[in-house]
Symmetry: C2
Subunit: 570 residues, 2 copies
């Protein structure tokens, strides 16, 4: 059987676009001689549709779109993902399904059994799991069709009580097909290959794994769809971070003899999904590993590009401070949107050092993007003057620092509103974690580009962007980080060195280590207490922050949910 | 058996406070002659603990606290709610449990079967449901103990596949006890009484229902714990919106003879939880029903008070515009925090009418709270002057309107930062729904007080607050709503009349009606399309908004989750 794997970038709720994209692939597959075309999870509506699923009309649009796609299935199978009504009266109203369309009709439906409900996933909010399992026969072959998470239940501490492939094996299938919407993080590609090989080794069947690609607000789907022969050798790996198509002859995947040695022999455990090191001495090396940073760069560029194109925007604006964070965001935005579409605004104050403007100008000259210099001193002084009746006699402090930051926010938003830009935020994960930022000031923006990268990772990304040729001026990489909101201020006046802080934060946020564990790992007790308290007490700030392009196993935002009013380590 | 029902206000993660509160009630119950003390769902850690449950130390603190409470159980039963480890290797690591402590030990554990995972609830994120059911014997009686949602599965379209009370009935219990953390909305108290009566009618057993009280950020628990005799008569109803304690002799609840006629004879359906009218002619009457508005007022006052006390703040600040929204918020805040703790800031611009300042001054004089008049014209002009090189030649527009709003936001936050206030937000639900507000301007603030009330409800609440004596000046209630950001501006320049808009919004947001349904209900097609498009296209703004005290069946925020990057009705 010839299978055409379609790795596509959908737009949630944009049924016309998704339908046309799917039908185009069907016609391309037909020309290429395919018998069956495979699409990714919830391809018809895009993943994740969230509470749109509670609207009957949304479900009717899905049904209508499936019907339109089915018109193109004469003599050829189309396997698409979509929510379908739960035929049972009990339980949630919907199932997360794969539908086999053939000769104009729905020939078979299978539904997802293992519904992820952790991190960014909320599938139990909408879907009832499948409680029965059937292979679908197509062209004389029995297809064991699963959806994403369904193949991730292996090992000694499963998150779920059933194993769908074990059930499907009772019907002696010939081939495994998995429809996924599996989000990127900088470790996930290796996990994914491993779990597919482990499934193939266990069931001794080839597998075709079709993933989505493209960013949906904060979640980036990285593609990398896979074809695995029955000896557990990856026969084909599709492109990452872009659409891709592949014709596979299943005859070449079966009967390959002995199972290849997969790279690891351990069974899959729940912990495989989270990053790999708890050793404090190797965390920085792990966080800044070149291969990961290279993938992160691709993910962020795609994240920016898809946010703008899917929201219908073309132009970005950002505050360019001469610091490393805004330099990296500006460089990525120029790659994603084109240099003419990214405006940098340099907003020096009386506390800005000379090099701040010079470095920011040099960067924009290097990138070729438009920039404006808009000093904030008159605005800052007007606000201080206005508040003088209230503030007279008080010392310069946090309020005055924040006034500067919010004056910049106001100026940026005014230009954005006037000329139709979207403000890109430049906060990093170390700042967001510790609350080292000003609400409505430097925390303003429509999309956070590097909010899931610790400061040490921002440096590593800057160095990566400067290869093979220097784009970000060397001075930006070497000077000490500073918010420049008071004379001679340095980040290190308020925060521990990032090399120490980022390791503590990583252990707490990504690895969910407790206070005592982190202290036991060799960090100063007072410092760890202070860092964790800052994280917990800053929840109210992050709660008002924009979406962050997710690249780690635990990003702030939709995948990390803490009560604001709480008293724990705070 | 004598049972002491303890309806308490917990603080998430504040184990010392929760423990001391629970032990105090135990000792009070002991003095009153109780055999058993009943607390609410997850009383030990507070509800909802969210991702704190992923930390081992958090679970250890819970275990330690349970142990400390158990030391007070000599000769007396204590029934507390807490997460417990799932003894099975498969599935989520935790169960949502009730523990019977007696003579210093855990004598029995039962766990929740029906895990709500809709609206504000995410219980599948943390908990595995119970798959087996056992009554707990205590003092010769068999107790059928359930947790919150467990008793809500009645009727013809159940959300779940099991009915825990049906299972428990197989062991012939003597009494039903339910531990709840059931959030307030302005219909929920009637639903709750109804479901308890329906359970009692079905199982012919008395029920003791212990609910939590107090606000946890956006979610308000309203108390109102209930005791129901086996004839389905409510024998006792505990206080709403405050802590309360009650000693019940179960001997007085059983053998009451014929089942009383419950107010309704229909079975409970999933739809009972959502509000009651789809008739466009009765929506406004429903939304502004005096009994509901009275409860809403109590919920908002408690919501403000608990946010401040649990966050460790005492002082609030807000922008007082002379409009109805800020007048209502100011009045509620003064009741919640005391007049000396609420500072109003009046920030007229060149576009403000004279009455704006006069009305706001009159209100603060009436309430007796401190206020400042801080004109924004110098700040506004400084920003315009600074931007003149970029804006020269462009017409006055949205950018200039937003500059004014954000100047006010900047001034309010500066005063808040300087003097340690928390900024109360004054946006209403009609504005938040349609995006009629300025990010970082009037959308700024730490807590939204009336963000779950449509404008028509804000008026009804203002009228309610003015009884028996006028607090909010009559002119504030009668003048046309205006943002006063351009000459002679009225809300009605940009938005439909609130009487029409609010009904469309209610049908879309609370009732999840589709475009076609709302048009079919008799509203103008173009208007409905525009309103729904505004709602969907404003998701990115609401995503950066502060927590909203939830009083309806569908508030913006954690209980309503939509993709930002989507194209559906937008």
């Amino acid at each position: 059987m010839k299978i055409y794997v379609a790795q596509q970038n959908y737009h949630i709720g944009n049924f016309t676009l998704n339908r046309d994209k799917i039908i185009q692939a069907v016609e391309d597959g037909r020309k290429a001689g395919a018998d069956l075309i495979v699409f990714s999870e919830l391809s018809v509506c895009g993943y994740p549709p969230r509470d749109f699923l509670e609207f009957e009309d949304f479900m009717q649009q899905i049904e209508k779109t499936i019907h339109e796609i089915a018109q193109h299935s004469h003599g050829m199978g189309i396997l698409v993902g979509a929510p379908t009504p739960n035929p049972q009266p009990e339980g949630k109203d919907l199932l997360n399904s794969a539908l086999l369309l053939y000769n104009g009709k729905v020939q078979g439906i299978v539904s997802k059994s293992l519904l992820p409900n952790y991190d960014v996933f909320d599938e139990y909010r909408y879907f009832e799991p499948a409680y029965s399992w059937n292979c679908i026969e197509f062209m004389g072959k029995k297809l064991a069709i699963t959806i994403c998470e369904d193949i991730w239940n292996l090992g000694d501490n499963p998150l779920y009580r059933v194993c769908p492939m074990d059930e499907l094996m009772k019907q002696k299938p010939d081939l495994m097909i998995n429809l996924s919407a599996s989000p990127f993080d900088y470790d996930h590609d290796e996990d994914r290959k491993e779990v597919i090989r482990l499934n193939v080794k266990k069931y001794k069947l080839p597998m075709i794994y079709c993933n989505a690609v493209g960013a949906q607000t904060e979640i980036v789907f990285d593609g990398g769809s896979l074809v695995c022969a029955d000896n557990a050798v990856i026969a084909a790996e599709m492109k990452y971070f872009e659409e891709d198509y592949l014709l596979v002859d299943t005859g070449n995947l079966a009967g390959k003899g002995d199972t290849a040695d997969a790279t690891s022999h351990h069974l899959m455990t729940a912990d495989m999904r989270v990053a790999k090191t708890d050793d404090p001495d190797t965390i920085i090396a792990y966080l800044t590993k070149e291969n990961n940073i290279a993938q992160v760069k691709e993910a962020l560029v795609l994240g920016i590009r898809d946010y703008f194109s899917k929201m219908g925007f073309t132009k970005a604006i950002l505050g360019s401070s001469g610091g490393i964070d805004s330099a990296v965001v500006l460089t990525l935005a120029v790659e994603a949107l084109g240099k003419d579409n990214v405006t940098a605004v340099l907003m020096p104050s009386g506390f800005s050092s000379n090099h701040s403007v010079d470095d920011a100008v040099a960067l924009s000259q290097q990138l070729g993007n438009p920039y404006h210099i808009v000093p904030i001193q008159p605005v800052y002084e007007a606000i201080l003057g206005t508040l003088d009746p209230l503030f007279a006699g008080t010392a310069f402090g946090l309020a005055e620092e924040n006034i500067q930051s919010r004056s910049r926010g106001n100026i940026l938003m005014a230009i954005a509103n006037k000329f139709g830009h979207v403000l890109l935020n430049t906060s990093n994960k170390s700042e967001l974690a510790t609350g080292y930022g000003t609400l409505y000031g430097d925390m303003a923006g429509g999309l956070s580009v590097i909010g899931d990268l610790y400061k040490t990772q921002v440096y590593a990304l800057a160095q990566y962007l400067n290869r093979p040729k220097e784009i970000i001026p060397g001075n930006i990489l070497t000077k000490a980080p500073s918010a420049e909101l008071r004379p001679n201020q340095k980040d290190s006046d308020s925060l521990p060195d990032y090399d120490v802080l980022d390791r503590i934060l990583y252990l707490y946020i990504e690895r969910r280590k407790d206070l005592a564990d982190i202290i036991a790992a060799g960090f100063d007790e007072a410092l760890v207490k202070r860092a964790l308290k800052l994280v917990n007490a800053s929840e109210y700030k992050r709660n008002q922050f924009c979406p962050i392009i997710r690249v780690s196993t635990k990003a702030f935002g939709v995948g990390r949910r803490f009560p604001i009013v709480a008293k724990y380590l705070s």
